[in-house]
Amino acid sequence: MNLRYKNWPVFAILLFAMSCQKKDNSPADASKVTVVFASPVEAQTVHKGDTVNILADVSYYAEMSGIAVEITDTATGNQLYEDNADTHSDHFTFQRQWIDGLNDSTMLQVKILVFMTNNTTVPAERSIYIKSLP
């Protein structure tokens, strides 16, 4: 019986050791974020009533926690659209749709924000610009 009791601390230590959790401590590096826009493309022209497909292939060398998109009217600074998605991967295909309802000609900024797990407060940003015509 004594031997059994003596084994308990060993067992407890073993369990404790198995409870240690290693963590990826890769430093945040926004320059290692890659965003490839499949749609829209730079300088693309869209018209009022068009559906703008936003399709971007996003990757990073470590884990990402989320992707967001913002569409901004560069003439007025008004944000026309925003949406986001959580992720837990180093590669994500982000897809959204926005319908152009603008009455005036303007330049639109389509910005992808990438939230890195090792720095969730300052997202990496990649943008393209498209033209909106009535």
Binding site: E63, A68, E82, D86, H88, S89
Partner: protein
Amino acid sequence: MRSISLMAMLVMSISYSAQACDLCGCSASNQYLGILPQFYRQFVGIQYQYTGFTAKQPSLLDPADKETAYEYNNTLQLWGRYHVSNRVQLFAFVPYHINNGSDAGTRINTNGIGDISVLGNVAIIQDDSTLKTWHHTLLAGGGVKAPTGQYTGITTLDEQGLPNVQAGTGSWDFIVNANYTVRRRQVGINADASYTMTTANTAGYKYGNRLNASVLGFYWWQKNSLSLLPQAGVRYEYSLHDYDNFEKKWLNENSGGNIIFATAGVQAYFKRIGGKVMYNVPVSQHYASNNVTVQPRLETSLLFLF
């Protein structure tokens, strides 16, 4: 007339975690076998468990803005015990999950057979029924949970934080447990602890290892063929963080935590039929950086003894 031995065995508590979402990481459902009768060596039964949680997750674009989520899990579980020998007994569990949840307005409903578990326990100290006052039982053992439940891997919804509602976990888990019961006449105490060691599933996701422990006091009341065992106590659960990708050591720090339940309920036995109702109320919890609130849990079971 046979009597129920109150050197009954609260064998262990094992956790079935339907996956951890972006926030939870809590054991989506937990099961406690309860005090088991010894006067029949075998039994089969069905359990019903209800668990749930609500969550508030900081929005990516505006952390002050909280996205809400909830998940409710209903589990029907077929289970049974078989004595391999006088000291060794096997348990098997076949759960069926009915889950529904919502995350940021996206509703998910799934159901299906979950992960099947098998446990083996050895009675290290067996009750001496010739004793009049003090009785002791010590059980220890372990088992394995097989990835038999449907697990679809990393889907788009999973990536967006909604994998919780899958019926299976996709992983092999290993369980060790110990259980001690002491009784003097009609009053007893049961202390139980179990530890679940998880492995990464086929998608690389690894649920956090879990510790479950409980202390229950009980009273044995008997009249003719009817026995009642009111019981109350506390339960403690502790979960390590999940890994979004275990190979790459992507620790999900929005998962894991601990919770203390106040628990009360009653078991009843009449001849070859047994039943149980337990209600667990969280009295202290810290899950997923306090973004998750675990709801009270209900457990019921019906046994046929033979």
